[in-house]
Amino acid sequence: MPVAAATRPPHAPDADDPPQRKLYRSADGRMLGGVARGLAGHLGLPVGWVRLAFLLLFMWGDGLGVLLYAAFWVFVPLGVGGRAGHRSFFETLPDGTRRLRKPDRGQITALVALFIGAGIFISKVQLGGESGRYVWPTLLVGAGVVLVWRQADNARRAHWTTAAGRHGRLFQAARALAGVALVGVGLTVFIVVRGSAAQLGNVLTATLAVLVGVALLAGPWLIRMTQDLSEERLMRIRAQERAEVAAHVHDSVLHTLTLIQRNAEDAGEVRRLARAQERELRNWLYKPEGTGKDEAEEPATLAEAVKKTAAEVEDHHGVPIEVVVVGDCPLDEKLGAQIQAAREAMVNAAKYGGEGGPVQVYAEVEGQTVFVSVRDRGPGFDIDAVPEDRMGVRESIIGRMQRNGGTARLRSAPDGGTEVELEMERAANAA
């Protein structure tokens, strides 16, 4: 039997079984509040016996049964589980709708017992007599209260089961309304029968006055409480957010710091780790409030692709690459080739010019032209001095750009270093 209750009510009998069972009200297969079924499960008795006991207490114990039942209902928390609700009045069909279940034998017996009990009860208290004036309204109010309380149980239960279709909600609303109506009718009858109908106006006025008074007295306190509650919820949301941040920082930053400590003598590796971590953290911190165009995950645009490529080269070669992108446009096949050429240039810059400082990558979309420059502050080199058989720059950068209809220029930057400039026209239809 699943355990859902946190506390055991004081009047719950102790269970002597080693696996401690806690008392809860059964949410499944219950007739009223699930008290009888819960107790039966707890005591290991048939449900019928418990129900009969309650009925007997109800009729011959001067209402003790009702009191007990109500106390259990109020104090014992609702639980899940129990046997599947074959005692429920309703069944849930595979398509999610609920419909009235065909009564089985046990249910009929229970109903018959209920009617017999009710008959005995009615004959005992002589409804027609003087005291009957009070009994009928009380019964009505009681029925209404029971309906509403069951409703409250269902609301709690809805937290566990998400299957609340439109029919279910309609049914619930109808039930709540019926409960309220019953209570209202009961109270009205009570008032009307108790005094004479002529005094109804006075009674209503008095009631209204009392209600307004109570509202005035309790109003500020209630408002305060609601505010406190919403504030508390806000705090909780914030705390949750903070916890998320902390979790992320813990995970990745601590991890990186550990790795850095282990590789302390390998300066290149330390730098690589630190850069990778910085980039990740930066992404994580500034992306949500970023420029909006950074939000796509897979590089569908030029800016994303350039940044991603630079990050990969940076990770691989341990040389910081600073990226500045102006404008953006969707990637097409030609731009893909340009990115490839740029990657080649970045790799070259990282390999041969990395010791001069960070590699600068600049990409700009201006009208139909996309311009990418990759610049390092290394020693620089002369393309004409590179032997014919070394195909890296010639094929991967210049050749690739020319095959796709773009241009690549390689030149020495003013104060040492090398700059590769790649220019490409965007595909005509991608305007």
């Binding site: 500034y286 409030e289 500045v324 404008g327 600068q360 600049y362 610049r375 003013p414």
Partner: protein
């Protein structure tokens, strides 16, 4: 943190006017003590240049107090600060910035490279923006340049500005005021590509002073252009 008292020891008040490389008094505003210490150390290494940290502050209130008390030439200002951020410091120090004699100048120094942070402090009146990855030498250089009244742009800031002015195609009415000239755009582009001012001068066959005046003009336009493009740009990106 009460480093504000340090200023009592400095005898001289104000650097020599005229932008000569004398002593520059600097206040450091950053909420990370480790970073302040680091900057102190880096500036200290290049001490011969004469940058002197006369005060530190860790939040907005402290910053305003320290800056008012010490009247430094340059404030190195972090963008993210408890108490309202760097923008708030700029707002409350506006009279000091506008002072006719010994105006206080601000250089934003931030780890953030989010566009709204950068553009925010620049429009608040900061004379430049550099990221915290900058080397000590470059930082000292930037401090001197800001003290001289020039603007200092990091490649990223240049990128943001180009983005701001380029992404709108239809020129608004006040176009000669708000648009960048061809030369300014060229200069910005080279800054964004990682060129130093000196390299830009060489590349464009102009003097370094001209480069600096172009950059200052860009900065002024950036601060002025709250009418058309920047507003639209910022609105389009939900920054305002």
């Amino acid at each position: 943190m009460t480093e504000a008292g340090e200023n009592a020891g400095t005898g001289e008040t104000g650097g020599p006017p005229g932008g000569s490389r004398g002593r520059v008094r600097v206040v450091l505003v950053d909420d990370h003590r480790m970073f302040r210490t680091g900057v102190q150390a880096e500036i200290g290494e290049t001490d011969r240049t004469g940058v002197e940290v006369v005060g530190e502050a860790a939040d907005v209130d402290q910053a305003v107090t320290v800056i008012t008390a010490t009247r430094p030439e340059v404030v190195l200002l972090d963008v993210h600060l408890p108490g309202g951020g760097g923008v708030e410091v700029l707002r409350r120090c506006a009279p000091l910035m506008a002072a006719a004699e010994n105006p206080v100048r601000f250089l934003a120094l931030s780890v953030s490279d989010a566009a709204e942070d950068v553009i925010g402090v620049i429009r608040g009146g900061a004379r430049g923006y550099v990221t915290k990855t900058i080397t000590g030498t470059d930082l000292v250089d930037s401090v001197f340049r800001v003290q001289d009244g020039d603007a200092v742009f990091s490649p990223r800031l240049a990128g943001f500005v180009l983005d701001a002015f380029a992404s709108t195609d239809a020129p608004p009415v006040d176009e000669d005021l708000d648009r960048l000239t061809q030369r300014e755009r060229e200069v910005l582009r080279l800054i964004a590509r990682g060129y130093a001012y000196k390299e830009i001068a060489k590349q464009l066959f102009i003097s370094v002073k001209t480069v600096e005046s172009h950059v200052s003009a860009v900065l002024r336009k950036l601060q002025l252009s709250n009418r058309h493009e920047l507003t639209r740009w910022a609105t389009a990106r939900r920054l305002v």
